[in-house]
Amino acid sequence: MSSHAYDYLDGNAAAGDLSKIFAIDITTAEGQCANCGATKRFAEAHLYMHGPGLVARCSACEQILLRFVSVRERVFLDARGMTYLCFNASQSREAS
């Protein structure tokens, strides 16, 4: 088994960067994969972060859930790989 097969982390590792745009901790939010329908916590996604941005993939089917890129003062978010992302609005913010 090559080490290349294990070049991902989990959604947790994106939380610092994503705290730039999400007011509530995203790692505990539940997202549904637009491809396979699996519903999981964002923390459970497979996160690839060695490119210029972050790519989160579904841990069940490996389709892209979310892409996030910062270019100087601009931040691009593409979340079309999820049909929804459900946050617990009563949760106190843990990522600041």
Partner: protein, 243 residues
């Protein structure tokens, strides 16, 4: 939001890992298992951000400890483990993450499984359990290359000596102490069966280590009957990720 922490103490854990104690103004405390992002900025403006788990117990004093393993070709960890001095200041963001956490109101059995420096967030859980006077039954299975590579060994031994409520087992992958009953090797199904909670106890499991370690251990836990929603994982890797 980036804050500034001042280094108040440094202590070597092993030949390649150092614990960094920071004092941070207006720090909102943390929950055991969370991490921080550390940002280093060079004179020319180039900056690098890395994530490190917090190893200390939550407290209200604005104090936190990170244990950083030096990676031979790392960009940030050699600086943190070799150059950083008491009194230096570091930029940090956090605490981060609300999923891979243990909170003192959890009373169910807890299974912690660490690979190498993956012990750090799990140590925060063990210390949090003690500081909150929790009676939740904990088990830790800690996989290290060799005896000298284990972090926090004396403290873990002292905790284990206090009774059976925190049970600690080691797996050695390259070299074991003399007369160690198990041959050296990675965590396997037999060790999971002998050293961890049976799935019938419905433990919440926290697995932290390199990605390949986490994949193999979480697959073993699931094959023993643990449910996927009871196995929480935190992976780290050498390429820009958690270290």
């Amino acid at each position: 939001m980036w804050r500034v922490g001042t280094v108040i103490a440094l202590e070597d854990e092993t030949g390649t890992a150092r614990t960094i104690a920071l004092q941070v103004a207006d720090w909102p405390s943390h929950t055991a298992g969370q991490h921080v992002d550390i940002r280093l900025t060079a004179f020319d403006g180039y900056s690098a951000v890395r994530s490190y788990s917090i190893g200390s117990a939550p407290n209200q004093e604005g104090r936190l400890e990170l244990t950083v393993e030096r990676l031979p070709d790392g960009e940030v960890s050699p600086y943190l483990t070799q150059k950083l001095a008491v009194g230096d200041r570091l930029e940090l963001r956090g605490p981060i993450g609300g999923w891979f956490v243990w909170r003192p109101w959890q009373t169910e059995p807890i299974q912690l499984i660490a690979g190498g420096s993956g012990i750090v967030p799990l140590m925060s859980m063990i210390r949090s359990r003690a500081s909150a006077a929790s009676t939740a039954p904990f088990r830790l299975l800690y996989s290290v290359r060799e005896p000298g590579a284990a972090f926090y060994r004396n403290e873990l031994e002292a905790i284990a000596a206090q009774g059976h409520s925190v049970q600690i087992s080691y797996a050695y992958t390259r070299a074991a102490p003399k007369n160690w009953p198990r041959p050296v090797g990675r965590i396997d199904a037999a060790l999971i069966a002998n050293s961890t909670w049976p799935s019938g106890a419905v433990p919440t499991c926290y697995v932290c280590g390199p990605t390949s370690f986490v994949e193999s251990v979480s697959a073993l836990l699931l094959s023993c009957g643990n449910k996927p929603d009871k196995v929480r994982t935190e992976r780290f890797g050498p390429t820009g990720g958690r270290q």
